[in-house]
Assembly symmetry: C2
Homo-oligomer: 426 residues x 2
């Protein structure tokens, strides 16, 4: 029953029925949250054995023989640099393993560029008005960093192949005020899209107008597959080697959604030229990373096989939740002409497009019935979704029983908002 | 036998004997290091039980009921904020417990001021030439941060009462380019001086010409006593409350030299006005600190009594090393008129003043006989000791047997350099 095809009378009747059902749900007094890409307690439990791997009887030396309990090893444990190298597709000599937050490393790279600059250019703070490209919808905390530093955020259309590369090339290759672009190249936040080979090659072939332009390649979901047919991301590191553009990209990843959120380890990967700048910055900023937590991660994960095994355990917990979200969307909204959604092979989100002008209303209706969603517009620069139609669903945190209730409500609110909207113009 | 009172002939003969002994030591092929304020392996062993306190059977919730394994609690665990509050003498609501490095927190505060500013003033990056006061000799890594950000480092004379406050007041109260001062107020690095009550009161009474001037109060050795008559530091937080200057100081401390160097926890304390700026900065910079390591620290240290007990264990290891250093200095150099040194009640260093123009020579002679000392001049802004006479001794890292050998050599080299120097002018 396509909402768009209904008469005003049919639509009014549907709206009345939806409102009745909505009030019934409201009376239940729900208090559920599917706002954040946060692992569930069940997922967090998967890493509890890690806490037993490092104890007072453990070996405390890294593979290079150094004592992990004392100062030193600014680049992190060699064996963990190797593991991140494999995960991120970057040479291990080009990896620094840091603290518990890859967002912190991204922030620090931006901050370093602001105060000290890249490629012997002036610090960004001294270059006047600057712009940063933000494929949208995208990750709100990426956009927020560059907004905090006063840059103009330029939205770039996202497609199932990745950012619209015609737009990216036009900006990057012509405007020297454009200093960077935020990318989540695999299982993008929020759509779960993976950049196509063509997109990656076009990134590697950029000829930036600004010598200090950088690609912020946040491979947050590099091993976070949900199906037996995972997406494959072309390796930007090797593509940039081929195009002699190795100073363009800076790579990030973490174990926040492999082991513990907030108590994982994060890494940055970059060319020698970029690393020299970052190593200098870090040499003033810190005595070094928490190497005991790095050792704990090596004892628990061991190698890439260990990472994959751990991700299989996550998948067992998460995949059914994605199935619930997708089947609820399909059951309640399929064929009604009022919503479209992505069907990702991995990552942490499902992205829903409701009718134009309805996203904020859906989020509000859900909230007033006790279900917290990600704020409408959050995935856009300045929190402004020009069509007010995108909603990010985060299936991982709520237990299955709560997720079913929350999704029923979400679909109901999507229908109700659509009926309201369509009646405005009938 | 006072070197200064010797005739040229006596001095020449002494020099010859010292050279002979030096060559004998050189032949031993030593390879010892007393360059850094680094805990020894024996000290690091003291915290090994901490690794057993948090395991897969432990309670994972903080005192507020939140799960420490997941995202959240940007200010750190409430119970650890309380413990740092007691250690640092700052209200617990004014504490943020962060990651593993207090140096990192200091760097981030400076970086935040550079890009965003304090007290609604322009960001420091946009204010032109800036100055930072550096009580000297002092901590090289403090000075390095402000040098990295392009500030002019102004040396301030250090006295046994703390920085020369006449100088400090003259600069701070008159020059709006002066944006801050580095302080290690208890057991200062490298002298082990503790600021007098008068000094602390004068800090609290400063009337800075710059509204965005800040005191960086790095209480790194707040619980690091070595004797039964520990120094007492007047509480700057309460003094600043009295003078209505509470926005002046920013407090720092860490457990790097209580538990594990590099795997401890650090904290910053500040007024509501300052915290609002820092909390905003952190809200963009990170998802939050490693709360599992915070929980581990609470399970191990528990409270202030636990901290004191742990510091007693450190004292048992360290105090004999300080005694070796001081008795070697006294035995070999006492009454010779060629060196003076501090006798601290705590901290990590002994500061030696050799004859003017001899410090670099002593460090070089030691190095050429296989003993690495802190670089001469390192404790001064830009690494330049105007008198070339200060040497920082770090007794904690070498085992006792090595320390004795190293100190014998150090004293020998100090005598030899003095004889060389005095012969130049006899």
């Amino acid at each position: 029953m396509d909402f768009q095809a209904m008469s005003r009378e049919e639509l009014s009747q549907v709206k009345q029925e939806l409102e009745n059902r909505y009030h019934e749900v409201q009376a239940l007094g729900l208090n559920l949250n599917m706002a954040r890409g946060k692992p569930s307690e069940e997922q967090v439990e998967l890493s509890m054995p890690m806490l037993d791997t490092l104890n007072s009887r453990s070996k405390m030396t890294a593979s290079n023989g150094e004592d992990c309990r004392n100062y030193g090893m600014a680049d992190g444990l060699p064996e963990l640099r190797l593991l991140f190298a494999e995960m991120m597709g970057v040479d291990d000599h080009n990896i620094i393993v840091g603290g518990n937050s890859s967002l912190n490393m991204m922030f620090d790279v931006i901050s370093c560029a602001m105060t000290h600059g890249f490629s012997d250019c002036e610090p960004w703070m001294h270059q006047g008005h600057l712009k940063f490209l933000c494929p949208a919808p995208g990750y709100d905390r990426h956009f927020a960093i560059t907004e905090y530093f006063g840059m103009e955020l330029i939205p770039i259309e996202m497609t199932p192949e990745g950012p619209n590369m015609d737009e990216v090339e036009r900006w990057v290759n012509n405007d020297p005020q454009v200093k960077g672009i935020w990318c989540v190249p695999k299982y993008s936040n929020p759509q779960g899209y993976t950049y196509s080979d063509e997109t990656v090659r076009r990134f590697a072939a950029l000829q930036p107008a600004a010598r200090d332009f950088r690609i912020f390649w946040d491979n947050a979901y590099c091993v976070h597959d949900l199906t037996n047919t995972p997406d494959e991301l072309l390796n930007l590191w090797y593509e940039c080697r081929k195009t002699h553009n190795i100073d363009l990209p800076i790579f990030f990843a973490s174990t926040s959604k492999i082991t513990f959120p907030g108590a994982g380890v994060a890494a940055v990967g970059a060319s020698e030229v970029n690393l020299a700048i970052l190593r200098k910055h870090y040499s003033y900023q810190t005595i070094g990373p928490d190497k005991l937590n790095q050792l704990r991660h090596i004892y628990f994960l061991r190698d890439m096989e260990g990472v994959k095994a751990q991700m299989q355990r996550h998948r067992k917990v998460i995949a059914p939740k994605f199935e619930i979200v997708l089947s609820k969307l399909s059951d309640h909204l399929g064929g009604k002409g009022i919503a479209e959604w992505t069907n990702p092979n991995g990552g942490y989100f499902v992205s829903v497009q409701v009718l134009d002008g309805c996203a904020r209303r859906v989020v509000q209706l859900c909230k007033e019935a006790g279900v917290q969603l990600t704020g409408a517009g959050a995935a856009y620069p300045y929190g402004k979704d020009p069509r007010d139609s995108n909603i990010r669903l985060a299936p991982t945190y709520p237990p299955v029983s709560e997720l079913e209730v929350a999704m029923d409500l979400f679909c109901l609110c999507t229908e109700l908002a659509a009926a309201e909207k369509l009646l405005e113009t009938k």
